[in-house]
């Protein structure tokens, strides 16, 4: 705690010094620039007469001051630096999705440092990569951003996610796939909401995908449909995913009765290794043949899962779960944060996206819970509606929330494994929804 306070103090001190230097630079540049004319004239005369060192030093000083980032700070960049510091605070002290929020916030800080030239949005203007401009000098983050732009990082992350996912609970209870589908209701409801607010259909689809609570899918779809909104959408998606334990429980309690929350579900059957191995192969072929645009996400998810379940490539499985996943997370986080430049972030659209994003999450949660209640009208074996909320894919946080809310009513009720079914089904559901959006809108 003391350490984090120390780090925050250093950040605030840095910010304070930046502002003070900015003010001093502003006051000092005016006389320097007025004297610049004199300098210019004197330098001409000096050139005619003899080379004088004083003029050279003065000119160098002017160039140096003008070339400093402090002299080029404006209120927008200061606000963005402040926002990045707030996000760093949330990641370090509050530990809100720190694995992603920390690199995102730092990427945001880097991109808003004037004249650093780490990220140049004009290289990716109009949704295309302007390869010819790369030759004129691109920043470090421009090169790293290519991984996002070309849809590489989200897919690599999905390989790691697949290797860490156990589809066993879903295979034991295939009906849980329906709960995963119902939670995607949030995506489409938010799409309508965004359209009503005046967003273009492609932008609305990218905003709607926040409701799927799946970071890589949201990034993948946004880079393809509305790359200009990538920064706000990524920040909204990951922030709300971190807030799942805060957003979901009130909705779950409001939509269920105490009796429903106390429903105990039958123990899941044992899933054989053979089933677990065949499933990823089959699901990839099945979904990709039906919906080809979903193939990259589903394929990567399933190849990671097959590595884990087959048990013959232990080294590869460990690599994708740890090293590959971590390296990609660093690149993805920093570059997604880098897209949050002052021009792209500080506008009314960002506020609208943040507002609609929370509505998307709420709709997704409600959709899952309500479908579970609806299923109870027809099925013999009752489903605890609380597991429906886990259909938003935030794995495994949403399943844990179902477990915690269920145990509030009955401490002897263990819903975690039952909720993992809709939870992993939600990952498939959101990838399918993203594929559909791509098919319909691109």
């Amino acid at each position: 705690m003391m350490k984090t306070k120390k780090y925050i103090f250093i950040l605030i001190a840095f910010l304070f010094s930046a502002v003070s230097m900015f003010v001093s630079a502003q006051t000092s540049t005016t006389p320097l620039s007025t004297s610049g004319d004199t300098v210019q004239t004197t330098s001409i005369t000096q050139a005619e007469n003899a080379k004088s060192g004083t003029a050279f030093i003065e000119e160098s000083l002017v160039n140096f001051v003008e070339g400093m980032g402090f002299a080029n700070l404006n209120w927008q960049t200061i606000v963005m630096i402040f926002i990045s510091c707030v996000l760093l605070y949330l990641a370090i002290v509050k530990q809100f999705e720190p694995l992603l929020l920390l690199p995102i916030a730092f990427g945001m800080l880097l991109t808003n440092l004037p004249l650093a030239g780490l990220y140049n949005p004009e290289l990716f203007a109009d949704g295309h990569v302007h390869w010819d401009m790369f030759a004129n000098g691109a920043g470090l983050l421009d090169y790293l951003y290519l991984g996002v732009k070309l849809g590489i990082y989200p897919c690599l992350i999905f390989i790691g996610v697949g290797a860490m996912t156990d589809f066993g609970p879903m295979l034991a209870n295939p009906k849980s796939l329906l709960l995963g589908a119902a939670a995607q209701f949030g995506i489409f409801a938010t799409y309508l909401g965004a359209i009503a607010l005046g967003f273009l259909p492609k932008e609305a689809a990218s905003i709607g995908i926040i409701g799927g609570a799946d970071g890589p899918t949201a990034i993948y779809l946004t880079t393809r449909l509305a790359p200009d909104l990538l920064g706000p959408i990524a920040v909204a998606a990951y922030s709300y995913m971190a807030l799942v334990p805060v957003i979901q429980p009130p909705i779950m309690r409001a939509l269920t009765t105490k009796k429903e929350r106390a429903i105990k579900m039958k123990q899941l059957r044992i899933v054989s290794k053979k089933e677990k191995i065949i499933f990823p192969i089959f699901a990839t072929a099945f979904v990709s043949l039906l919906l080809p645009p979903a193939a990259p996400l589903i394929g990567c998810l399933m190849v990671g899962n097959l590595m884990k379940e087959s048990g013959v490539v232990e080294r590869l499985s460990k690599t994708v779960q740890n090293e590959l996943m971590n390296i990609t997370t660093i690149f993805l986080g920093i570059t997604v944060g880098a897209t949050a430049t002052a021009d792209a972030f500080l506008n009314i659209k960002t506020l609208e996206i943040l507002t609609i994003g929370i509505i998307a999450f709420s709709f997704g949660t409600s959709g899952g819970v309500l479908l579970a209640k609806f299923m109870n009208l027809f099925t013999k074996e009752k489903v605890n509606p609380l597991i429906g909320s886990a259909g938003v894919s935030a794995v495994p946080m949403a399943a844990r929330v179902s477990q915690v809310v269920g145990q509030e009513t009955d401490p002897g009720n263990f819903l975690l494994m039952h909720a993992m079914g809709p939870n992993v089904a939600g990952v498939i559901g959101s990838a399918v929804a993203a594929g559909l959006m791509l098919t319909m809108l691109s």
Partner: protein, 124 residues
């Protein structure tokens, strides 16, 4: 208000309707296929015929002379098992090495009781 009316709602609703129905249709298909698949491939617990007969006999004739007392645990035993499980799951228990070999204790050399020292430095 005018902006909302100017939006092509028919198109937006088409996308929503088609999107939701497609997500459901696709996942329902997957549910059906998985259910069939699990029926075909799920591990089946087979009771050997000999045991099956015995099992049937116990269910049909509950009054036979099976001594249920054999498996009965005393309250003390139950409490001890419950406590051990609780400690295990709560990770309160220390992890102990299963090796019971006595370790040789390494001692630093000290000349005061050294045999060689005693032999070489004879009392004068």
């Amino acid at each position: 208000m005018m902006n909302i009316l100017a939006i092509n709602w028919a198109n937006a609703l088409d996308i929503v309707g088609f999107g939701i129905s497609m997500v459901f249709i696709l996942l329902i298909l997957l549910v059906i296929v998985l259910s069939l698949f699990s029926k075909a491939i799920a591990p089946k617990v087979r009771i050997p015929k000999k045991n099956q007969v015995a099992a049937e006999a116990t269910t049909t004739a509950p009054d036979n002379n099976i001594e249920y007392e054999e498996g009965h645990l005393s309250a003390n035993d139950s409490a001890a098992i419950a406590m051990a499980l609780h400690l295990y799951y709560a990770e309160v228990h220390d992890e102990e090495s299963a090796i019971i070999t006595i370790k040789t204790v390494e001692r630093r050399y000290s000349p005061w009781s050294s045999k060689i020292y005693g032999l070489n430095n004879l009392v004068k």
